[in-house]
């Protein structure tokens, strides 16, 4: 049973984020907070600006205005600043953060995987970037993570292109989570997959999120996915947030008329 965890400390503090490509193209004046251990869903139709927002949050695209503040617990920061302003720190620190403490799961696993190297090398890459230099241990971690995401560890030396779409997505998730990131961004993680494959993947994701206590920002147009994974929702339309609240509350009793439309369209697919 999902339970909001509002008493947890704020991990990500988003203040007035604007990134516009044209009128109502992009996102405008977005504010929200993500708490540690929370899964926040950003929902809306395609073109609502949710993917732009995710790119800004994930450090891939600087905003026109606003701040993304990442708050680490003082003991985790290891003497460094407990609060980091994502676009005020230098590119070096930002990339190190993305590589070491954050993770990003792309909608298309091909964007997140190295298609030319084996599954094991894909999972091991972030560990190697952290300085892990023992082949045997890298391999053992690779196999353990393949089991964790319900892939056959016997296929550790196979190239991702020999995997099905659903398996590639599992592999991407393993590759991202292997360093136990504190914050994970997911962009339509089940998009483009068959319904039956989607269901199993969602189930697995839900288990992983709970087991690892992950903090997640999840972008999806699919309210069923949001209902299953997210504690809280932001509903976006034309670059702006029109409604926020607990997932069940929003999906069962939407207040904004756009949300009502969105929810009703899910009932009549």
């Amino acid at each position: 049973m999902k339970k909001p965890v509002l008493e947890r400390p704020v991990l990500l503090d988003v203040q007035g984020i604007t990134r516009l490509y044209g009128p109502a193209k992009g996102c405008e004046a977005i504010d929200f907070q993500l708490h540690a251990g929370e899964v926040l869903g950003i929902v809306g139709e395609s073109g609502s600006g949710k993917s732009t927002l995710l790119r800004v949050l994930a450090g891939l695209e600087a905003p026109d205005a606003g701040q993304v503040l990442y708050r680490r617990q003082a003991d985790d920061a290891g003497g460094e600043d407990a609060e980091l302003d994502l676009y005020a720190i230098g590119e070096a620190r930002r990339r190190a953060l993305l590589r070491l403490e954050w993770g990003l799961v792309h909608q298309n696993p091909r964007d997140g995987l190295r298609m030319g190297v084996s599954a094991g090398a894909n999972i091991g890459e972030r560990l190697m970037a952290q300085g892990q230099r023992h082949y045997g241990q890298l391999r053992a971690s690779g196999q353990a993570w393949m089991r964790q995401v319900e892939l056959d560890p016997g296929r550790i030396d196979d190239a991702p292109r020999t995997f099905s779409g659903g398996m590639q997505q599992r592999l991407q998730i393993a590759r991202t989570l292997v360093t136990r990131p504190r914050l994970v961004f997911m962009d339509e993680p089940t998009g483009g997959l068959d319904v039956s494959v989607q269901a199993r993947l969602l189930d697995m994701l839900r288990t992983l999120v709970r087991q690892l206590g992950l903090s997640v920002v999840l972008v999806t147009h699919d309210l069923a996915v949001a209902r299953l994974l997210a504690h809280r929702l932001l509903v976006m339309r034309r670059g702006q947030v029109v409604e926020t609240g607990l997932t069940d509350q929003i999906l069962d009793d939407p207040q904004h008329e756009y949300t009502q439309l969105l929810v009703s369209s899910v009932l009549t697919p």
Binding site: R95, A121, R133, L138, R139
Partner: protein, 277 residues
């Protein structure tokens, strides 16, 4: 030669290259961009090395040029002639007698001494190039020390072949900081890079980059703890000098598949034969 400055390049260009070389020595393993000039030999045929040699050569220096370890391969001959013509310097084939040694693909077997300079010809200076084609991105990766991807390649080799399958241009880490391409020398020569008393300079003409390993610098070949770096070994000894510790070239002697193995370093081989005889 009439009409050209000493060692071909004009003094301004030489100064520009020397400034870049000083920077390279100050930041071991870092690729310094320089305003490479066209040379009267094709790119890829040693224009980078030739520009470096031309910039550091003095009238009293003795020059040795090798290609594949040999003084008599056509390109080594051609470059040696070039410097005889445009600089009039004395040349030698003896490693011990040379002040400056320009090389392609080998480090001499005879240990170098302090004061000597080894100039490498480099085709592709960027060790990350085959993983990341964009120069903008690789420069950023170097700046941020994002080198995990180098080990991805080595990991993949072991997973596929059971060994690290890179046999030449084997990447190294210089002074614990920059990952560097040692040019296409066989990995057999990599240990000679570490703590070498000579100054080692690397020039890539077409790519307009130069870099350096100052004397006595720590140079490590990338590897895994449980798959350490190792060099090639031969079951044979050199058929000419009997050396059992030098890099050997395989020579096909007839059309019946007959082969022999001989030192790739011709000067080393000849001097040993002199001693043996």
């Amino acid at each position: 030669m009439n009409g050209y400055n000493f060692a071909y390049l004009d003094e301004q260009t030489k100064r520009m290259i020397r400034r870049a070389l000083l920077k390279a020595v100050a930041i071991p393993g870092y690729q310094v961009p320089f305003g490479g000039r066209e040379m009267p030999m094709p790119y890829g045929w040693g224009t980078g090395g030739v520009q470096l040699t031309a910039s550091i050569l003095g009238a009293d220096d003795i020059l040795k040029v090798i290609d594949q370890g040999a003084d008599d391969t056509t390109n080594a001959v051609s470059i040696r002639h070039f410097f005889q013509r445009v600089a009039g310097v004395e040349t030698t084939t003896a490693t011990t007698a040379a002040d400056v040694i320009q090389t392609r693909h080998r480090i001499p077997e005879t240990p170098l001494r302090a004061g000597q300079i080894l100039v490498f010809q480099v085709p592709i200076p960027e060790p990350l190039r085959f993983i990341e084609p964009s120069e903008q991105e690789t420069r950023l990766m170097h700046a941020l020390e994002e080198y995990g991807v180098m080990h991805v390649k080595l990991y993949e080799d072991i997973a596929r072949y059971g060994h690290i399958a890179t046999t030449y241009a084997y990447p190294v880490k210089v002074d614990g900081r920059y990952v560097m391409d040692p040019s296409p020398i066989p990995k057999f020569d990599n240990p000679k890079l570490d703590g070498n008393p000579a100054l080692m300079l690397f020039g890539a003409g077409r790519e307009k980059r130069l870099y350096a390993i100052p004397p006595y610098t720590r140079v490590e070949s990338l590897d895994f703890e449980d798959h350490p770096f190792e060099v090639q070994r031969w079951e044979h000894a050199c058929a000419l000098c009997g050396s059992d510790h030098s890099y050997l070239d395989e020579v096909i002697t007839d059309d019946q598949g007959g082969r022999m193995f001989v030192c790739s370093d011709t000067d080393y081989c000849q001097s040993r034969r002199g001693e043996v005889a």
